[in-house]
Structures are given as C-alpha cells and as structure tokens.
Amino acid sequence: MTSGTTPQQTLTKTSAGSEATPRQLRWRSRRARETIAAYVFLTPWILGMVLLTLGPMLYSLYLSFTRYNLLSDPKWVGFANFVQMFTADSRFLKSVGVTLVYVLVSVPLLLVVSMLLALLLNKSMRFLTAYRVLFYVPSLIGASVAIAALWRLIFGADGIINQVLAVVGIHHDSSWVGSPHDALTTLIILAVWAFGSMMIIFLAGVRQVPRELYEAAAIDGAGVFRKFFSVTLPILTPLIFFNTLMATIGAFQAFTGAYVVSGGTGGPVDSTLFYTLYLYQQGFAQLNMGYAAAMAWLLVIVLAAVTGFFFWTARFWVHYGDE
C-alpha cells in the first residue's frame, strides 16, 4: 500500500523535532491532496452507502418494531412482530421450513455436481473452451423469468419431463409443479441446473494443483480416489469454503423461480413459499411493512450467524497453501 511514500516517511522521521523543511511541507500537502482526492473519488459510493444502505437499514430496524402500512404513521409495537412470527404465524414457520430444505438440499447438490464436472473437465482437452461456455449458460439465465416459466411448463402434467419418464417406463401423469410434494423439488433442480458458475471456480482451482503432487501420490501407489481425497480435495478447501458460503447466502435469498413457478402464491399449499416470497407478500401485497422489515432483519441476523459459523468452522477444515 504505502510503498510509494515510504522514502518520504523515513525522511520525516529522521528530521522529526526540527522545523518543518520545505520537503516535509511538500510531502504533507501531497498527503492532504491525496486524502482530498480519495474522498472526492469516494463521494458517490459514500452517498450510496449512507442514503441507500445504512440509512435504510437503520430505518428498517426501526420499522421492525412498528406496525406500518404506508398510509398512516408507523405505530410502535415493541417485539410484537417477532413474537407473532414464532407464535401466531404458521405461514412464516412454513416459509422458514421451505427455505431451510431448499438451502440444505440445493447447496450440497450444487457442490457435488460442480465438483464432479470440474474434475471431468480437468484436462488440457479439446473443446474445453466450448464446454466451459456451454456449462456456464444456465448460470447466466437460471434466475430469469423465461427459464422459470419454462420450468413451470416442462414440469407440468403434459410437460416433457413426464414424457421422458414415460419413455423409460415410469408413468407419472400429474403435474410436478402442481403437487405439494414435488413442487419444491423442481425449484431445487432449477438451482442445481445453474451449477456452471461454481464449476468454473472449481475448475480454475483444480487446474492449479501442482502436477508433482499427483506424481508423488502415484509413486506412493495412490489410486484415483485416494488422489482425490488426499491431494485435490484439501487443496480445494478454500474454494469449497467460498462456494458454500456464497451459495448458501444466495439460496436464502431466492425469489424469482418460486414466484414464477407458483404464480406468486408460493403454492401449492405453501410448498414453495420461500422466505423472500413471503416477505414480499407481507410487505407489498398486504402492506404489512413493519412485519416485512422484521422478517428482513431476522434474515440479516441469521445470515450473519451462518456466515460467522462458517468462518469459525473454517479453521478446522480449510487448508491454505503454506500449512
């Protein structure tokens, strides 16, 4: 950081105590100019931080202790919103359950699938560039309304999923998205479908594993599995950590797929009522903005706890190169 200013700093130290030399003055004014320049450059971001992030966060913290419907003034209710969530709102508890299942199933599946394909692609093979591009395409469009709409149709009663199953002899005639048991599964499949971005990150990692390690392992008689578990996996743990954390945070915030597939209801029978979808319904369909703010802050606290827990566990299983 300070490499550019180090000589001047030493200079000031040696002449400390005496009268300021012209050189020192020049250096001080340069520092002052740099500080002014920095804050000029940072002005848009600081304004955004205060007006669009920190201010709204504090305001929503306040709102979470109120009842507010946009029409009349917020009314202070203390912890009533939070109490209501856990004691008198079965849809809230349902949305927590749905979201937890979604996170706990889709994130591990994403990790496994993207890791397997990254290993499969880990060769200086022909068409590698084309393969990477094609595997990545679903990640680009997986969060779009177009794909969610497609999902709703192909998992419908006469959609191509049932047609494919019929070809292999499984006769499933009812709609997947219309069934309370299966609707969430289709959204998990949608999440896993977009595994490409995670795979690209793993691929960049496995390609950097030093060849000598595999050669040494081969000399020691390690087979494919042993090499994976003793060489590849430990080296990839920082990337596994990063991917798991980001995928978990992302999964807690999923919205578009559930909204489109269920037509905005979270149905059938609330089986796809994601946390964010329920927050949207409370805040913007029923104008319970205090309640929605309380839900949002609960999510912040939960995600902060999850993130903190992740970083705490990291010391036990994440290996960095120098260890």
């Binding site: 940072l42 848009p44 955004g48 927050l279």
Partner: protein, 295 residues
C-alpha cells in the same frame, strides 16, 4: 521427466491400471461430458425448437424438429393480447444501458480510490464495502420502497437506475479493486512525475488498462439488470413501463395451452441478448468468474 520417474519407481502392487488406451479414456471422458451437456441443455434447446412449431404441436413431441416450421409464434407473441413486446424490449434496454453506465462510473472511481490512494479511514471503509457484499438485499427493500414512494419515483425507472450510479454493487467494486491492484504502480509514479494529478492518472492510465475488468462489470451489469424481476415488479405498475420479464410474467398469467408457442418465442427472444453477449465475450467473462466468484 514423468516417464523417467515412473520407470525408476517400483510399480505399485494395487496401483491403478495404466494400460488403458489414452485414446479410449479421452473418448469416454468426452462422451460423459457430452451426455451431461445434453441433459443440461435439452430443455433450453427444446424450448427454442418448440417456439418454431405450429402452436397445436408444442407439447406433442419430445423431439426437436417439425415438419412445418413456422414463425407464427413470434409474430403472434410479439403483440399478444394487450402485450407489447417492442415496448418491453426498449424499456429493458434503456434501463440496462443506464444501469451499466452508472455502475461503470461509480464502481471504477470507488475502486481507484481503494486500490491506489492512501487516506484516513480507508481500512474501515473497505471493511464496510466487504460487509455489504454479504448483506441480504431484503433488509433495504422495504425502506427503499418507502423512500422512493416518498420521492414520487414509483412508476418511473429511477429506482431501478439511480442506485447503480452510487456504487451499490459491492461485488463490482471489489472486482475492480482487485484488478487495479494488479496493475504496476510504476506507471502511476512516472505519470505523477510528469505532473499528472489523480484524475488524469485515473482516466489516462488506469482506465485504459482496466478494460478487461470494465468489460466484466459491464456484462454482468447487463445480465443482472436484464434478468431483474423483483425491482420492476415492485416499481413498475403501469404496463407501458414494463420490462421484458414483467411482459413474460403477464404472458404466463394470461395464457391457456393454446398460446404457449408465443410464450416460448418471447422467452427465446428474451434470452438471446444475454447468451449472445456472453458468447461474444466468453473468454473475458470466464476469467472474471474464476478469479472473483461472480455469477
């Protein structure tokens, strides 16, 4: 080198069989990858194919080809019912372009300050920047809506564009900070000796060299803006302001089985710009993802 080591080393008793023909192994590997790709991309390809079939044949076949390919779904879907996709595409492009410009300007100036300048409070502000990367967007959703409502911005594009001019995308800033840090500092120093101020160093030296990072930010900015659904859903009630995702949602809500062809046609068109730009710039983007974890 490898072969000499293997020749000297005793052959492992229970080791892996090395005798498999490398050509066969490569073929198996490619076959597995192609299988995975077919499963992955078949729904997408099927949708594109179905959009060219007569509307009574959409769901009749798993196959891709039709005896009677037609463009009718495109012409009918473009203005089906009260929908007006010319408008939605123009609106979506307008919002996307203004968001991209805002992101590029605000994120690059912020990144320059964090990557190159020393100033009091830097560590604290940078920690704050990293913190916002993990912040769930829901926490600002309600208060921002109240604020934009108060400002009279509902049913305008301002809530979808203005935040991007204030560097709210911490990921983009982080990506550019990392990139600018990797540029050699000697360039700045020699420019400074030539009498350049920070603004000129930023515009004349750093920005031209940061073009790869700028490209990544521009493309992801486009993709996120183009795919955004919740923002337009909240702020754009009037149908003449709708973006493409809102048009598709309305299409889905209003259709019976008969006009799925039109829906598929419009869905295909809505995905085309994203996939097109991505393929044009794929090398740049995939490097960006691999190094920063964007998606």
């Amino acid at each position: 080198m490898i072969s000499t080591i293997q020749a000297r080393a005793p052959r492992p008793i229970f080791g892996r069989k090395q005798s498999t023909n490398p050509i066969i192994r490569a073929v198996v590997r490619h076959a597995l990858i192609i299988c995975a790709l077919v499963i992955l991309l078949y729904p997408l390809v099927w949708m594109v194919a179905a959009s060219f079939r007569p509307s009574n044949q959409i769901f009749t076949t798993l196959g891709l080809f039709s005896a009677h390919p037609t463009l009718a779904n495109y012409t009918e879907g473009w203005g089906a019912g009260r929908l007006n996709f010319s408008r939605y595409f123009i609106n979506s492009f307008l919002i996307a372009i203004l968001s991209i410009v805002g992101n590029l300007i605000s994120c690059s100036v912020t990144a320059y300050a964090f990557a190159r300048l020393n100033f009091p409070g830097k560590k604290f502000l940078f920690a704050m920047l990293l913190g916002t990367m993990f912040l769930p967007f829901q926490v600002t959703l309600v208060p921002q809506y109240i604020m934009f409502n108060y400002l009279g911005w509902i049913n305008t594009y301002l809530p979808l564009i203005v935040p991007h001019w204030f560097g709210v995308n911490a990921f983009f800033i982080f990506l550019m900070v990392q990139f600018i840090r990797s540029l050699p500092r000697e360039l700045d120093d020699s420019a400074r000796l030539d009498g350049c101020g920070h603004f000129r160093i930023f515009t004349r030296i750093i920005m031209p060299l940061a073009l790869p990072a700028i490209g990544v930010v521009a493309l992801f900015s486009f993709v996120w803006s183009w795919n955004d659904f919740l923002g337009p859903l909240l702020y754009l009630g009037r149908s003449d302001l709708w973006t493409v995702p809102l048009g598709l949602k309305a299409f889905l809500d209003s259709t019976g089985q008969s006009s799925y062809g039109g829906l598929f046609a419009m869905s295909t068109l809505s995905l085309a710009p994203i996939v097109g730009f991505f393929i044009l710039a794929q090398r740049l983007l995939l490097e960006g993802i691999a190094t920063t974890g964007l998606k």
